[in-house]
Subunit: 488 residues, 2 copies
């Protein structure tokens, strides 16, 4: 049996403003008619070949992951049972993340390492590749997955491989060398090598997909051999882990772990590697240019305009004389980018970070500059909230509480709150009082009063909250008790 | 003394999405650091030379005009006393509008006709031109104002004029011929004629500014002579006018009046015309290209981008590889237009009209397609409202009631309303009850109950209204009593 280790981090910069720090691209529900995220599609796909799941992420994305898994279980034939979460206190790249998963497994467990933010089509060929890899992983190899290149892409690493034993082990190759992202000329050379000589040639270049398969013990052995510091520091940190429950483990003291990828730490040095030549369609969705190959533009009104892609929400978008552009309109940010240049979004994010740091000492900056962190809909363990308007002296929010969930028991020093239930039924605690609030009913929480909002029902609870007070910042909150052990 | 006749109509198409049918460009407060509109600046400017005002507009824009005059009186040294409003039931172009103003005046009254949507700089030269015009208007001439052209503009009409009596009457010319908007070649020819030979030449081309001055009686006489049908039909309609009070006259039965401009109806045919050569700066703000000469772009994050203009509201705008574009971002519509092509905005509005007509039979279209009519902030006689969110079963609005104003006494059949006062003090009537509601207080209006919201105070009242009900359309309203005589 195979255990799927899902790497689920990400800084949310490459698809900004759709992706944010707290909403990296794997969680964006852009696919299958906006019903599914790459994370959900990854789980669906891997459910066919794996029966256990370890998800490596961080505390901030834990609830979002859990939400999406729950949603998937409700709506899909693919169910995963009790996924185990390893929550890193800080991101230290793939060598360490995979080591944690290996420490958490038996040494003979076969680990299938996959990113959570790639798109793969053609399931049959995927299953075929995974099964082939499994045989070699069992034999003690580190197995990588190489994608048959279709273009001289300069955004991917390449695996130079050798076809050693073509008759017997078709599509399983030996690795000669890992190459970093090449320039265009080099990439073209790689492709030429493939097309001119294959299958006669013995050398073949493949895209490095970032997927791996091996026994847990084999990986740790190779890591200790080639990157002993990563091994030692990861082990130290693992030993200090805090076990919240069977399925939730918080990793601590990670500051000394080297920030290094599995490619550098292990793959480039090991002699014990095989690569599977994969023929399924694969897209790393690493920029808007690759995203728009997979999703449909919304409608727009175009005058003398052509070959544009539009993403928006209800707003009318109209253009005059615009050609070959990508327009991404969200509630708090608008991006207009020339096609083929969308990788420069990183530079925008960097500029925003610089501006943001200037504003850091201004307490209001946290409120008015969520641009880097999250979209206006903010995910919480109990559901979501969205700020509808914020002005001097007041703020209006739409709060959605999922069935069976509740917010923390809390109080505020600077604001009063008016709640109007517009959908579902709320259970409200104010001071010692507990009562139900139905649709079209309202209540009032006075400044300083201890209160709690819960959804005891079976459908989502929607509350419009009107806050009135001199200061309505998110940090004016004292949590007395919390189902999710949050202190802030 | 001079009476200023302000033409204040407009379809709101040329600066869409900033301008809308209910918010034409003269009311957009884009100038003087976003504090003033072209309408307000027109009144300020003309207050120097005029002591009476007739404003010709329609019922829909009446309250907006009144609001902006009131605001101007509060904040400016320029005050206008009791402007008279002529409210047309339908727009029938300038020949008729000016005739109404003339019928409403004594025959010897000197009328100064000005659009309300042009920008003029250099007040001294403006006053000089107006005074010069006055002398000729007194003598019985139809006086027009010609602007000294600075570019071969193809968006303006031109006045071909003759310098007859240069020594005595400097800068007052005889009109030879009115020319419609020329092509570029012709416009260049006009400018060449001006620059090559002036002041030796006796022929000179000027931009037609759309401003006029004459005695009321002289205009009506010339109109009767050259366009008798316009004269007769306008007179018939005028005689059926409804006088609401001294300052508000509603014009009825306008359907038979020919839709024709003063230029075609009178000026091109009269022999009795002088043109003032004006040297003040003048901009008709007829497209985004001319608007952006006058207002500043907001800040944006630009990568490989240059020479763009951005208009938006709080949202972060970022561009990659965008050059020579105008980006106009409003809450419900986004326009991205190549500079020099912004006049094609008309085509977008036409497409929207077509789409809109398809949706006409759907009652929800009124709610979801305000794109052509108004921005999300809707002006009412008593203040404004803005829809913050609208979803199945509920709607949230921010309502601002101006001091001393009140909404109609009303009821709804399909919705309940929760009101939370977040600023100021409200006087609320529910059924027979009347009570005050202060900041941070709330009340509930049950479906079917007669109610009224008023602001008895001295500062604006801000109320967050949460509507809950199966149908929350604006047309679910029965008005029992209204300060503004509205029936719908």
């Amino acid at each position: 049996m195979i255990k799927n280790v899902i790497l689920c981090g990400g800084s949310g910069t490459r698809l900004w403003p759709l992706s944010r720090k707290l909403m990296p691209k794997q969680f964006l529900q852009l696919f299958d008619n906006k019903t599914k995220s790459l994370f959900q599609k990854t789980i669906e796909r891997n459910s066919i070949v794996c029966n256990e799941f370890i998800i490596i992420t961080n505390e901030e994305q834990y609830f979002l992951s859990l939400d999406q898994i729950e949603e998937l279980s409700e709506n899909s034939k693919f169910k995963i049972q009790n996924p185990k979460f390893l929550l890193e206190e800080t991101a230290k790249n793939t060598a360490a993340a995979i080591a944690f998963a290996a420490f958490e497994s038996n040494e003979d467990d076969i680990l299938f390492i996959t990113p959570s933010d790639h798109l793969i089509k053609n399931e049959e060929k995927y299953v075929e590749a995974v099964n082939k890899a499994k045989n070699f992983a069992k034999e003690g190899y580190l197995v990588t997955f190489g994608i048959k290149p279709t273009t001289p892409h300069t955004g991917y690493g390449y695996i130079e491989s050798r076809i050693e034993d073509l008759g017997l082990r078709d599509k399983v190759l030996d690795v000669i060398k890992f190459h970093e992202k090449p320039d265009l000329e080099t990439a073209q050379k790689y492709l030429k090598q493939n097309t001119t000589h294959y299958p006669l040639s013995t050398t073949y270049y493949l895209w490095n997909s970032g997927m791996f398969m091996f026994k847990a013990g084999v990986y740790l052995e190779e890591l200790r051999k080639h990157s002993p510091e990563v091994y030692e520091e990861t082990l130290k940190s693992y030993e200090k882990r805090r076990i919240i429950n069977d399925n939730q483990i918080r990793l601590k003291d990670m500051q000394n772990i080297p920030d290094i990828s599995i490619d550098y730490a292990v793959m480039e040095n090991s002699k014990n590697i095989k690569v599977i030549l994969c023929e399924f369609e694969w897209n790393d969705v690493g920029s808007f240019d690759s995203l728009i190959e997979e999703i449909e533009s919304i409608e727009s009104i175009e005058i003398d305009s052509e070959n544009n892609f539009y993403y928006g929400n209800k707003k009318v978008i109209a253009t005059i004389g615009l050609k070959d552009f990508i327009v991404i309109d969200t509630k708090d940010a608008l991006l207009i980018a020339k096609k083929t240049q969308t990788q420069k979004v990183k530079e925008i994010v960097n500029q925003l970070k610089t501006q943001h740091s200037h504003l850091k000492n201004n307490p209001k900056s946290k409120i008015h500059n969520p641009i880097l962190n999250s979209q206006l809909v903010v995910h919480r363990p109990w559901g979501t909230y969205e700020t509808l308007i914020e002005d001097e002296g007041y703020k209006v929010k739409k709060i959605i509480v999922r069935p069976g969930k509740r917010l923390s028991l809390q109080k505020h020093f600077h604001r009063n709150e008016h709640w109007v239930v517009v959908c579902g039924t709320a259970e409200v605690q104010v001071g010692e009082n507990k009562f139900l609030l139905k649709e079209n009913e309202s209540t009032y929480i006075k400044m300083g009063e201890i209160h709690r909002l819960a959804n005891p029902g079976k459908i989502p609870l929607v509350v419009i909250e009107v806050q009135v007070g001199e200061y309505t910042g998110e940090d004016d909150i004292i949590r007395i008790e919390d189902d999710y052990e949050r202190t802030h």
